[in-house]
Amino acid sequence: MKVSYFPGCTLNTTGKGFDNAVRASAAAVGLDLVELPDWNCCGATYPLIIDNMLELAAPAHVLVAAQQEGSILTTACSTCYNVLKRTNKFIQEHEEERDRINTFIEAEYAGEVEVKDILHMLRDDVGFEAIADKVQLPLKDLKVASYYGCMVLRPPNEVAYDDPDHPTSLDDLVAALGATPVDFAHKNECCGAYLAVKDESITREMVYAILRSAQNAGAEAVVTNCPLCQFNLDKQQAEMRKSYAGYQPVPIFYFSQLMGLALGLETEDYGWERHYVDARPLVQKLLEGAS
């Protein structure tokens, strides 16, 4: 199945490893991601002032480009997903504002494209059972905490394809890869997002609450689908070792990295060198366990 794919700015730069892993592992399970030509930044936040049409122009422009390519647009960045999905719904439901946006970007778009998160596609269009059938290296005995963040869950009436309070899609994927999902209370609690740009100490406390909760549940690794969550959870741990006595760091994976590993793909370009908490020892252990 071929589908239009929007990488977004973060996956094109600091999150390149996430992007490489997503493309390779999606292809391995029969989902061919075709990069949208001439895409632009989605804006990274959905505007919350009700008449802020200008900030909807960038995501609307992406949706117009996607319409030329097919009926579905997918993305792996949960923030891009959130912005594109909400913009599309807004355009569908607000005729007058739609006309203003269309006039501004010189288009005639009424929300025809379906925006789907890649995890949603892996669950419903590929199927986790089909993915499980292709696993070469089951991640046996690996206890993984799935961290969903905010963007694919809230607001639920606009973006959610999973239960906003008890999401399971990442856990189910992790289980399909042979690992053991661990349940924890903070799986959908905000990590602080862009707050770190102003004050990292607040982000650190939020991240500590999340990771302590995951580790208390027995997690040896955390998996996420948001590049900003991955960055916050990963980076803050270096300082947390100084602020919280006895804190033991835990590697933070993108789900696609674990997926590529379990599918037996080459993982050199998965961005391991960018991780703040080195994930390579655990990866090595998994690879050795399989041989």
Partner: protein
């Protein structure tokens, strides 16, 4: 705190601007406190999310414009998801930030970011942060 209420003070210009920018009806809130109970940044706030609405209901907007709280809301929408009245508090927070920034300018100093930070941090953090904290 003693507050003298009148129709004029409760519907003052700032209250009207909050409702206009956010599209939210402030009087819908009956102070159940779910927003404050579930807010993951409440520990760092000087006014709880539920207090932000309460103050606005009473026409007391100035303390909100001076609060730390409005800059700490990351729009995670946990409060909106749980609000029994369907109020999107993150939109009210954005309206308050907008009112401050329209008068005083951006709330973030670009120059304070080191080049190392600029190289390492995801674009998403910068673009999101600049959109929230600058005009």
């Amino acid at each position: 705190m003693r507050v003298r209420l009148s129709a004029e003070s409760v519907h003052n210009e700032l209250v009207q601007r909050i409702e206009e920018y956010s599209g939210q009806g402030l009087m819908a809130c009956y102070q159940c406190g779910k927003c404050a109970a579930g807010c993951p940044v409440a520990f760092a706030m000087d006014m709880l999310p539920s207090q932000v609405i309460r103050y606005a209901q009473l026409g007391l907007v100035e303390p909100l414009l001076e609060s730390k709280t409005i800059w700490l809301c990351a729009a995670c929408q946990t409060c909106y998801t749980r609000c029994p009245k369907g109020i999107d508090l993150s939109r009210i927070m954005e309206a308050l930030r907008e009112i401050v920034m329209l008068e005083k300018g951006s709330h973030i100093n670009y120059d304070a970011l080191t080049s190392e930070e600029q190289a390492d941090w995801p674009q998403q953090a910068f673009i999101g942060g600049f959109r929230k904290y600058s005009v």
